[in-house]
């Protein structure tokens, strides 16, 4: 009975070790970039052709070139507006993260608290946020705060419910193991429950990221604030009133870009946290 060398002795029996994701072949990588870009270019060309051939007036449907011009000419109005919307979106997301995760942890620790707060969480979730906006505009000290609260309420619930679900979905054997080694409830929370809730949390984060932008825009529509400190959604409405369609398209484009950026960012965070261990982030190899 000497020491065992598993690499040798297990070879041929159950040495399925180390089969991690193989590289995507280069050809497929190129295809993955080229095809979507090509499809977009074709779409824009088609748009341009449709507008020029049919001679559609700019105030009905601007062509891509008009939008391009507007992007440069109107940047003085639109960029600050974008920043306002971004500020609301991210602030709301951060508060929702802290609040959602914090409350989920509290809920999971105490069954009574969970039962008591559950109806409030559901009421907040199922009530269409746009319907609360007028009330918030009355009660909040200023419009910005009202917008922030709106975006927060919408982003909050997916994080709360996903995190709570995740904290409750811990492997029972691992819980037994922690109990066996006399882990305190704090240790169990930090070393077991929170890590095993990460995939759920990340799903909640990706939903909440998209929703917080949507909520910020919808809240701005409802608030309709003018002048100083107004966001992109208000600029969008304003462009519509003035039939300045190129500017409206630019505003839309910026919102779309922001949405993509948020999606990319949250997906990247999720990948960073999960790619070493969770099935969702690992390429299936058969």
């Amino acid at each position: 009975m000497t020491d065992i060398a598993p690499t040798d002795r297990e070879a041929g029996t159950d040495s399925a070790a180390g089969v991690l994701l193989a590289r995507t072949p280069n050809r497929e990588k190129i295809l993955q970039v080229v095809i979507p870009v090509l499809a977009l270019v074709i779409g824009i060309l088609g748009w341009h052709l449709a507008v020029t051939v049919n001679q559609v007036p700019r105030y009905i449907l601007p062509g891509p070139l008009d939008v391009w011009d507007a992007l440069w000419n109107d940047s003085a109005t639109l960029w600050p507006a974008l920043l306002v919307t971004l500020r609301i979106t991210f602030l709301a997301l951060v508060i929702a993260l802290v609040g959602g995760v914090g409350l989920a942890i509290l809920l999971v620790q105490s069954r009574i608290l969970e039962l008591a707060l559950f109806p409030y969480a559901v009421i907040l979730q199922v009530t269409p946020m746009i319907a609360i906006a007028p009330l918030l505009l009355i009660y909040a000290p200023d419009t910005q705060t009202a917008l922030l609260i709106c975006a927060f309420i919408v982003a909050f619930f997916p994080i709360l419910s996903n995190m709570a679900q995740g904290l409750k979905s811990v492997d029972h054997n691992l819980l037994n193991l922690f109990e066996l080694y006399g882990a305190s409830s704090w240790q169990t929370l930090v070393f077991l429950k929170i890590p095993s809730a990460m995939p759920y949390f990340m799903a909640g984060l990706r939903i909440a990221g998209g929703l917080s932008l949507i909520a910020a825009v919808v809240a701005e529509f409802a608030a309709g604030s003018a002048g100083q400190g107004s966001g992109l959604a208000f600029r969008l409405l304003e462009s519509q009133y003035r039939l300045n369609l190129p500017r409206l398209f630019v505003a839309l484009l910026m919102l779309c870009g922001t949405g993509i950026a948020i999606f990319g960012l949250t997906s990247f965070i999720s990948w960073l946290a999960l790619h070493r261990w969770h099935e969702s982030a690992i390429r299936r190899e058969n």
Partner: protein
């Protein structure tokens, strides 16, 4: 059965010089759904023993093991730890290691961090635990896999990590709950040898739950055969095993005879349960 050296070990009749590690006294367990999982089980576990709890499904062997581990209190009876410091939960301080049927590893943590866990929960830092953890991994032949994640390992290797984790606190008592039931025969035989080697090298006391006659006959110095409805001890036999058991022993006449005796006892236990009202 002349030279197989099997003898019934009536608990308490022959005075045993070895230290008593844990004693179950008339332990019963009634589940909330009304099932009597365990009835009046008494078992003296002495230092250095390798005890297998052998029996069919539903005979309460896993329940007994969990009660010893402190996972779920007995409905009646008591568990005594005569030679251990007892903590506030009535369990011996750091004296017990447990290996579950599944490897039960944390998928988000590396092999090293998984084995480090029991020490971390006691406040031993990563740096301070490094040597102990690496020695534990080396003893199951996984030193090269410290940085791997559980999903990158095969089933047998995961189970080795689980065993290394259970041994990292240097427990006096190692509890194993059908640890190799889900593994293929070849891997299982290797892991049996690993466990036997750990038992011999570390002098740890082992309680091993299994439903395999061959596994129990190969590993144990004592086999407790259990029967179902309700779960209880049916037979308790000592087995004098040769020290160096290996592949040759698996095909030896001695081993075959041991298997025969154990198998007969198990059959009797099963029939007794079926005959019960």
């Amino acid at each position: 059965m002349t030279d197989t050296a099997l003898s019934p070990a009536e608990a308490g009749q022959t005075p045993d010089p070895r230290r008593l590690v844990v004693a179950m006294r008339d332990v019963s367990k009634l589940f909330s759904n009304g099932t009597l999982a365990l009835k009046g089980m008494s078992l003296d576990v002495r230092a250095g023993e390798f005890i297998s709890l052998l029996g069919p499904s539903g005979c309460g062997k896993s329940t007994a093991l969990r009660i010893v581990a402190g996972l779920g209190a007995p409905s009646s009876g008591s568990i005594d730890w005569p030679s251990s410091r007892i903590n506030s939960r009535g369990l011996p301080e750091g004296d017990v290691g447990f290996v579950f049927q599944d490897p039960t590893l944390m998928p988000w943590a590396t092999v090293f961090d998984n084995v480090h866990l029991p020490l971390k929960l006691r406040g031993v830092s990563r740096a301070a635990a490094r040597d102990t953890v690496m020695a534990g991994l080396a003893s199951v032949g996984l030193a090269d896999f410290a940085g791997s994640f559980p999903r990158e390992l095969s089933g047998g290797m995961r189970m080795r990590v689980s065993i290394a984790r259970a041994m990292v606190t240097r427990p006096k008592l190692l509890l194993m709950d059908e640890p190799f039931a889900a593994l293929d025969e070849i891997t299982r035989q290797k892991l049996n040898d690993d466990v036997l080697r750990l038992w011999q090298e570390h002098g740890v006391t082992v309680i091993f739950v299994t439903h395999s006659v061959y596994e129990s006959a190969y590993l144990s110095s004592r086999i407790v055969v259990m029967r179902a409805r309700p779960g209880q001890v049916h037979a308790d036999m000592r087995i004098d095993q040769p020290a160096g058991r290996d592949q040759a022993y698996r095909t030896s006449e001695t081993y075959r005879q041991t298997c025969q005796v154990v198998s007969d006892a198990l059959q009797k236990a099963i029939h007794a349960a079926e005959a019960a009202p």
